[in-house]
Amino acid sequence: MNDMLKISQLKVAIDDKEILKGLDLEVGPGELHAIMGPNGSGKSTLGYALAGRDGYDITGGSIEFDGQDLADMEPEERAAAGLFLAFQYPVEIPGVNNAYFLRSALNAQRKARGVEEIDGMTFLKSVRESLKQLKMDEALLKRAVNEGFSGGEKKRNEIVQMAVLQPKLAVLDETDSGLDIDALKLVAEGINRLRDGKRSFVVITHYQRLLDYLNPDHVHVLSGGRIVESGGEELARRLEAEGYGFLEESAA
C-alpha cells in the first residue's frame, strides 16, 4: 500500500532562515504518529509547510500526500485533497459565524471534489453531534470563529472542525496544550473515534499523557530541524522521564 504521507529530505526556510534541515517521515494509511521535540525545533513549521502557508519556502526535498506532490498546491487545494491542520494557536475571525464558517469550508471542499453541497440539516446534525461529544456548548456555533473562546474551547473547536471535515490526514499541533484533564480525555476520544484504519494522524505534543490515550504507532523526536530519533510508545515514556538531554548525549 502507498504511504499517506511521504516526506523526504524536506528543507524549509522562513525568511531565508533554514528551519527544517532535511526531514524524513513516512506515515502509512491508518497510522498515528506522534512528534515530540524541544521548543523551537520546527514542529509547527512542519505543520505549516504541510498545509502550505505562505512564507514557508520549501528549499529542498519533497512532500507527497496520498500520491500527490504538495509543492505546487494551494492551501485550499490541500484541504480539499483531505489534509487538515489543527492549529497550535487557532485564529479568531471577528463577526464570522462559527457554524457558517465551517459549513462554507466543508462546501468549498466538496465543490472542489465535485461533490454536491451538504444540506443544512445534515450539516447541523453532524456538527451538533461533534459538539456534544466534546461537551461543548452549542452556543459556540452561533459565536464568531474562535472570538473570545477560552484556550481550551479553541482547541476543542479544532477537533470539531476535524470531525466535520473528515480529512484523510490530520496534523494536530499541540491540541492537548492548555486543556484541562477532562477536556484532554474528550479530545483524545475525539481523535480515536476518527481512527478507522484508513485515516492517518500526525500528533505533535509535548506530553506523554495524550499519547497514553492514543497509543501511537510511532513516536519521533524532532530536534534542530530533523527527526533525530524514532521509536514506539516507550520513546515517549523515556522522554517524559528523562527530558531531551539523552539525545545530545547520544548525538555526541
Binding site: 505562505d54 485550499e76 492549529f87 487557532p90 485564529v91 463577526g95 464570522v96 464558517f101 471542499q109 472542489a112
Partner: protein, 481 residues
C-alpha cells in the same frame, strides 16, 4: 500580474455588472448651466412659478460659492458648463402605470436585478425607478394610497401635493447649505417623495433605484421624506451607472423630517460605476443627506453601504432637535483601485436626553483612500446627551490609506461621548486559517470582510443585506494576491 488586456477587461466586466448602456432615445437639454437651462427644466416639468423662483435663487447663490476643498479628496476640476443637466428617455406621454412604461426601460431594471413588476409582486417592496433625470414608474401605488401613504416621483409631488413640497422643501437642507446642495436645488430633475400620515406605519418597504444612463449627463435627484407624528417608514435606495471613460457627476440632496415619535430608517446601497483599475472614469458622488428629528422622541437611522463611485463625498447627518430624539449612522465604505471616499456623519444634539450612535467600517484596498469624517456637536441646552462612536478601518494590501477625523464639540458638561477606533490589516494568519479549511483566497477575504461589516449589515433589510454582501465580494475581486 501578467494578464492580457482582454483578461483584465473580462475581470472588470465581471466586477461591475451594472456597467451596460441602454440604447434608448433621450430627450436631452443642451449642455451648460444658466438661467435659460433652469427655466427649460422647470418648464419641461410644468412647474409652478414658486418652484422656478426657488431654483433660480439657488442658482444665484451657487454662483457666489466655491467648491469645498476641506475633504481628503483629490477632485479634478469639474467643468459645469460641459454637463447636460437634463436627460430623459423619450416617452410619448407620462406612463400612468407600469404597463405603459417602455419595455426597454423595464428590461434595464430587470437586468439590474430590480424587476419592477416582479419585485412589486413578490417581495412586497414598493419601488420608484429613476432613469437619468426622470422617474419611470412607481410600483404599488394603489396599496400605498389605501394606507394614506404618498410615494411618488418628486415631479409628481410638485404637481399633486404642492403645499407639502412647498412647506418642507429646503427645510432641512437649505439651498445655501453647501456648493453641491445649491447646485442640486437649481437643477434637480426628479427623485422620490414620501409622506407618511400621522400614526401610520408604512405597510411595506419603500425603495428607489437610481440609474444614470445617458452620456455627459449629471444626475441631480432630490428626495424628501416626511413622517408625521407616530409615523414609521423604512426606505431603501440603490444606484448604478454604465462604465464610461469620462467622469459623471451625481449631486443629490435627501431631506428627512421626523415629527413627534416618528421613525425613519433610510438605507443606501451605492454602487455607481467606480472607474477602472487605473482610475479612469467613474462617478463623482457629492451628496447631501440630512435628517431632522424635529420633535420629541423622533428617530432617524441612516445605513449606507458605499462600494461604488470614483469619488464619494457624503455625510448623512441627524439634527436631534426634539428631546429624547435619537440618531444612528451605520456605514460600510469600501474603496478599491483608485477610488476615494471621504464620508461620515454629523450628529447635532440640540434637545435634552438625545442619543446618537455611529458605527463606521471603512475598507480600503488597491491604491484607494478611505476617510471617515464625523462631527458630534452637543449644544449648550442639550442636557444629558449621549454619543457612542465606533470607527474601524480594515486595510487590504499595502498601498491603500485609511484616515479618521472625529470632531467633537461639546458645550454641555453633562454630555457623555464615547469614541473607539481601530485600524487593522487583513491578517495573513486569518487568510491562511480560512484557506487551510478549504476556502479559496477570494472567498476567505469576502468572509473576513463580511465579518468586519457584520454590525452594519444587520441593520439592512434582509434583501439588501444579501445584495450588499454580494456587492462587496464583487468589488473586492482581485484585491488580494
Amino acid at each position: 500580474m501578467s494578464e492580457t488586456v482582454e483578461q483584465v477587461q473580462n475581470l472588470i466586466q465581471q466586477r461591475y455588472k451594472a456597467g451596460f448602456f441602454t440604447d434608448i432615445e433621450a430627450d436631452k437639454v443642451r449642455a451648460g448651466l444658466d438661467e435659460e437651462i433652469i427655466a427649460m427644466i422647470s418648464a419641461k416639468k410644468n412647474e409652478p412659478a414658486w418652484m422656478l423662483e426657488w431654483r433660480l435663487k439657488a442658482f444665484h447663490h451657487w454662483q457666489t460659492m466655491k467648491t469645498p476643498n476641506w475633504a481628503l479628496l483629490k477632485v479634478p476640476a469639474i467643468d459645469f458648463q460641459a454637463i447636460h443637466y437634463y436627460a430623459a428617455p423619450k416617452q410619448k406621454n407620462r406612463p400612468k402605470s407600469l404597463d405603459e412604461v417602455d419595455p426597454k426601460l423595464l428590461e434595464t431594471f430587470d437586468k439590474l436585478g430590480v424587476p419592477l413588476h416582479e419585485r412589486a409582486r413578490l417581495a412586497g417592496v414598493a419601488v420608484d425607478a429613476v432613469f437619468d433625470s426622470v422617474s419611470v414608474g412607481t410600483t404599488f401605488q394603489k396599496e400605498l394610497k389605501e394606507a394614506g401613504v404618498i410615494f411618488c416621483s418628486f415631479s409628481e409631488a410638485v404637481q399633486e401635493h404642492p403645499e407639502l413640497v412647498q412647506e418642507y422643501l429646503g427645510s432641512v437642507v437649505p439651498y445655501t447649505d453647501n456648493y453641491f446642495a445649491a447646485l442640486n436645488s437649481a437643477v434637480f430633475s426628479d427623485g422620490s417623495f414620501v409622506y407618511i400620515p400621522e400614526g401610520t406605519r408604512c405597510p411595506m418597504e419603500l425603495s428607489t433605484y437610481f440609474r444614470i444612463n445617458a452620456r455627459d449627463t449629471g444626475q441631480f435627484e432630490r428626495t424628501l421624506i416626511i413622517a408625521e407624528p407616530g409615523a414609521e417608514v423604512s426606505y431603501l435606495e440603490g444606484c448604478t451607472a454604465p462604465m464610461r471613460d469620462e467622469n459623471q457627476l451625481h449631486a443629490a440632496v435627501v431631506e428627512l423630517v421626523a415629527r413627534k415619535k416618528a421613525k425613519i430608517k433610510y438605507s443606501t446601497v451605492q454602487n455607481w460605476y467606480p472607474g477602472d483599475e487605473n482610475g479612469k472614469g467613474g462617478i463623482y458622488n457629492f451628496v447631501t443627506k440630512r435628517g431632522d428629528c424635529r420633535e420629541d422622541d423622533a428617530r432617524i437611522s441612516w445605513t449606507q453601504v458605499e462600494t461604488g463611485s470614483a469619488i464619494t463625498w457624503k455625510y448623512p447627518s441627524c439634527i436631534l432637535r426634539g428631546d429624547r430624539s435619537a440618531g444612528e449612522f451605520y456605514s460600510v465604505a469600501l474603496t478599491h483601485n483608485h477610488q476615494q471616499a471621504d464620508t461620515g456623519t454629523k450628529m447635532i444634539h440640540l434637545g435634552k436626553d438625545t442619543t446618537s450612535k455611529i458605527i463606521s467600517k471603512g475598507i480600503s484596498a488597491g491604491k484607494s483612500n478611505n476617510t471617515y469624517r464625523g462631527l458630534v456637536r452637543i449644544a449648550k441646552r442639550a442636557e444629558n446627551a449621549r454619543n457612542y462612536t465606533q470607527c474601524d478601518s480594515l486595510l487590504i494590501g499595502k498601498t491603500c490609506g485609511a484616515h479618521t477625523f472625529p470632531y467633537i464639540e461639546s458645550a454641555n458638561a453633562t454630555a457623555k461621548i464615547e469614541h473607539e477606533a481601530t485600524t487593522s490589516r487583513i491578517g495573513e494568519d486569518q487568510l491562511f486559517y480560512c484557506r487551510s479549511r478549504g476556502l479559496d483566497e477570494e472567498d476567505a477575504v469576502a468572509m473576513i470582510v463580511d465579518g468586519f461589516c457584520k454590525e452594519v449589515f444587520k441593520e439592512l433589510p434582509m434583501e439588501f443585506a444579501v445584495e450588499a454582501k454580494a456587492l462587496l465580494e464583487i468589488s473586492l475581486e482581485g484585491a488580494v494576491g
